[in-house]
Each structure stands twice: as C-alpha cells, then as structure tokens.
C-alpha cells in the first residue's frame, strides 16, 4: 500500500500576488513599446543594408594608430587623475556620510550633496566644465572627479557603517579622540573594501573617459566621434579595437590588484 501525499497548496492571497506581479511586468513592457519605438522587424528586413554598413568596418585602418594610441593614453591618464582626486576626497566624505560616526546634522547634508554629485552624469559635468575651464582633458578630470566622488563617498560610508564597533571602543578606552578612533579603529577595518571599490571605479572611469572627448573634454572620444561623423568606419574600427584592448588590459590589472588586497 502506498501513502497518498497532498501537495502543499499556495494560499490564494500569495498566488494572486504572484500572477499580479507577472501581469504588472507584462503591462509595463507593452506600455513602453510605442515610446521606445520598437521595430524588431526592420532588423531582418534591412539586414542587407546592415551587412553593407558593417563591411565598411573591415579591414580596420591602423595608419593613424600612433595618434590613437597616444589619445588612448591620455584617456587613461584622465581616468587616473579623476579617480585619484575622487578617492582622496571620498575618504573624509565617506566618514562624514556614515551614521555611526557623525551626528545626523552633519551626515544628512553631506549625503544629499553626494547624491547630487552622483545624480548628474559625468557627460553633463564634462559639458559644464568645458565651458568653465576650456576644452581639453582637464575638464574631463574634473567631471570624473565630481561624479566618482559622489559614488565612492556613498560606498565608503556603507563600509564604515558595517564595521565591528568593538575595536573602535577599544581605541576609545585608551583616552583617544574621535580622529584617533577613525584612524586606528575604522580605517584598518574598511581598507580592503575601500581599495576594492576604488579599483572598480577606476575601471568604470576608463570606460567613461573614452566618450568624454565627444563633448570636447579630452581623450580618444574626440577622434572616435569625428570618424563616425565622417563615415570613416575603417578608422572607427581601429579606434574601437584600441579601446577594447586597453580597457580589457586595465580590467585585468585591476582585478589582479583587487585579489592582492582582499
């Protein structure tokens, strides 16, 4: 004789929520179809045109590679300085954003300021700084600095809020002041995480810096934009390959460093 099992039944309320959730997602996608101008059919119908367009990229033309490599180097240098300035500023700002380190009337205003830095895209900042300091890589450095500072300060403060309070209390018990507690109790604990976040942001900044040139803020973006607009797809392909190789190399290097520190 075999025992009969009753399968667990999902309560009505729970299953209703389940189907409503899927329904809501479906409705959202349908409603956005028009606005997003979705025309998947054209991808197939005009595939011949696409192929012709793509064939323009081959073979890539590396005749100007020295100039592109030099511009790529400038792009990385913009990312290096933008990230460095952001990390340096995010150390105090990250502490000032942490609820467990400062009273709310410091923490909240600093947080809102960082929200503002983060909310505005680095391209927008780049356009503004081009007006303020003139065309060139320096505008790009400033744009990356402000935007990255907003992100890193938030990430840094989250790490600070998660520290073990006991070593900090151990430092406090020696008669140390607030700054000593930060230097000896907090920073050693958050260091691996902070380094990891900083390297991530550096990687992201190299990618971001490749397009800053479009608005005149230095780097390889300018050549990229000019070649696309001039229909020089062979040169465009060469630039894209240079970007892919450089970004991959930097990602690998940064991953290697992250593993060393964590």
């Amino acid at each position: 004789m075999s025992t009969t099992f009753t399968l667990p039944q999902r309560p009505f309320k729970q299953s209703l929520a389940y189907y409503l959730g899927w329904g809501a997602l479906l409705a959202l996608l349908t409603l956005s179809w028009e606005g997003a101008d979705m025309r998947p059919g054209e991808l197939i119908r005009d595939s011949a045109n696409m192929a012709k367009f793509l064939s323009g990229f081959f073979p890539p033309s590396f005749t100007e590679w020295r100039m592109y490599a030099n511009e790529m180097l400038i792009t990385v240098e913009v990312a290096v300085w933008g990230s460095f300035l952001a990390v340096v500023c995010s150390i105090p700002l990250g502490i000032l954003c942490a609820e467990n380190m400062v009273p709310w009337w410091i923490c909240q205003p600093v947080r809102r300021l960082m929200d503002a830095c983060r909310a505005i895209n680095d391209m927008v900042f780049a356009m503004l700084f081009v007006v303020a300091v003139g065309l060139g890589p320096f505008a790009g450095v400033l744009a990356l600095w402000i935007n990255t500072m907003g992100t890193l300060a938030k990430l840094f403060s989250e790490a600070v809020e998660a520290v073990d309070p006991r070593p900090v209390e151990g430092v406090r018990a020696t008669g140390a002041n607030w700054l000593h507690e930060v230097v000896f109790g907090v920073i050693p604990q958050v260091m691996p995480l902070w380094i990891s976040y900083s390297l991530y942001r550096f990687e992201a900044n190299v990618r971001a810096a490749t397009v800053l040139g479009i608005v005149g803020a230095g780097g390889i973006g300018q050549s990229l934009w000019e070649n696309i607009r001039g229909f020089n797809y062979a040169d465009t392909a060469a630039i894209l390959i240079i970007i892919i190789v450089s970004v991959s190399m930097i990602d690998a290097l940064s991953q290697f460093l992250r593993k060393k520190f964590v």
Partner: protein
Amino acid sequence: MLDSPAISVNRLSKSFCRDKKALNDVSLSIADGEMVALIGASGSGKSTLLRHIDGLVQGNKGSSDHRLCCIDVLGRRVQSCGKIRRDVRRTRADIGFIFQQFNLVGRLSVLTNVCMGFLGRIPAWRGAGALFTRDEKLQAMEALNRVGIADLAGQRASTLSGGQQQRAAIARTLVQRAKIILADEPIASLDPASSTRVMETLSEINRLDGITVVVSLHQVDYATKYCPRTIAMRDGEIAFDGLSDKLSHDFLVKLYGSDSEELILGRKLHPKPLPDAAQQVHKLMKHEALTHAAV
C-alpha cells in the same frame, strides 16, 4: 591611602528599556591599590557597571543634585546625572579597559595595537598620524615582554590566540600607564590555562605596580583565588560587598539560588528552593553593602 577613593560610584541607576533596570541604585567605593572581583550571573549588571565607570555609557538622569547619580575616578568626575563630562578622555587615559572580546584591531600589528596606549598622552596630531617615536615603540616592546609575547610584536593581532590577544590588551594598559584597570570578563572567552595566565598577570600588576584592578568574573573560584575583596551583583543591585573568604558554597547558593550553578562551575549543585530564606539573606547582604559603601 588617598583622601578620595580610586573609584566612587554614588547611587547610580541605569535602565536600557522602560520597566527593567540594568543597574538599580548602585553605590560603591574602591580604594587605591585594591584588587576587587565583581561577580554575578550573566545579565546581572557587571559589564554595565564597568562601562559606566569608564564613561562609555551614561547613567539615568536620576535627580538634579550633582552629588547624586555620579561617578568619580581618581578624584575626577566621569559623569553625573546622566551626562558624561566633556573632559572624560583625560580620565579614560588613566583607566585601562580590558574587554571580554579583547577589542584589538585585528588588521594592525600587535605592536601598533599596544602603541595605541599612548594616544591619550601624546599630542593629538602625532597620534592621528600614527607617528610613534622609537622610544615609545621600545616601551611598547617592554610591556609586551612583561606579558610574555614580545616575540609576536610584528604579527597581525588577528593571528594571535585568544589568550595572547588578551595579554596584548593588558600590555596596552601598561603602556597607557593606567592607574586603574577595569577588566570586563577578561577570561570568559579563554581556556583554563590562558585564564590562569591572564589572572596571574593582572594580579602581578596589582601587586608590583600598585594599580587598582576591578575584574568582573562569573566564576567564583577565580575571585576567591586572586581578589581579596568581592562585590557580588544580582539583578542590577549589589548583593554582597566584602571579603572574598566569606563566599562559601552555601552562601552563594543562598544568594543566587539556581543561578549559582553558573558561578560555581565544576561542582554539582542541587539548590533547594528556599525563596523566603534567600530573600532574607539578600536583604541582609544589601544592608551590609550599603554600610560598606558609606564607610
């Protein structure tokens, strides 16, 4: 003996939530150079009391009379009426605090952890930059040598065993040149051999350097062995304050009832439920505690 006691607590109360008091009208006085055990079951208020003395927690406001609800250490006010004094850091520099979980910074070297003892005494900017002089580092090495772990100075604190970490924490209080050591369950996370080692170190510091030591324990054996005087706590009140010799087995059973099993480990206990008798003894002892504090 000094005019003012090393530690004086006057009618301190503390409640973390509304109805239950973690400390209830606690008064005590500890003279310079004493070695005192603070015993009691977990949750009896030992840690809370020690943390109040170091000004890490503030007591209830109590009355507005600043002579009440206050704590003085070495003649300096730590807190009164629920307010910690602004200059508490100066007092803390004279108090070495030892924690149950050691509270060292695991990623820093043992030597740096011990050098933190200087933070309250050297210029703030030098401390903030971790710029300890060669002489200070040598003093830290001397302290580590005294607790027997000088050979581990270069290692990260997190790589040490529990007993070694606790001895590093004691070295930190030595570097601090603390006049008082408050030890909050220093041996609760250690094995018996390390426990003996740590208690012996504390007792030696008390004997040779004349440093006042208050150590909270939940094993009576260690209290009677190392501390001439014991203060016993129960439910946030002082239930006994006197010579440790008086703490006989029967007395503890009377004092703590079924809780006494936690205090007398390694001995089989069958406490008889004697609620009336226990309460009477408790009252009597509380009276004794108050008279002792008044003296």
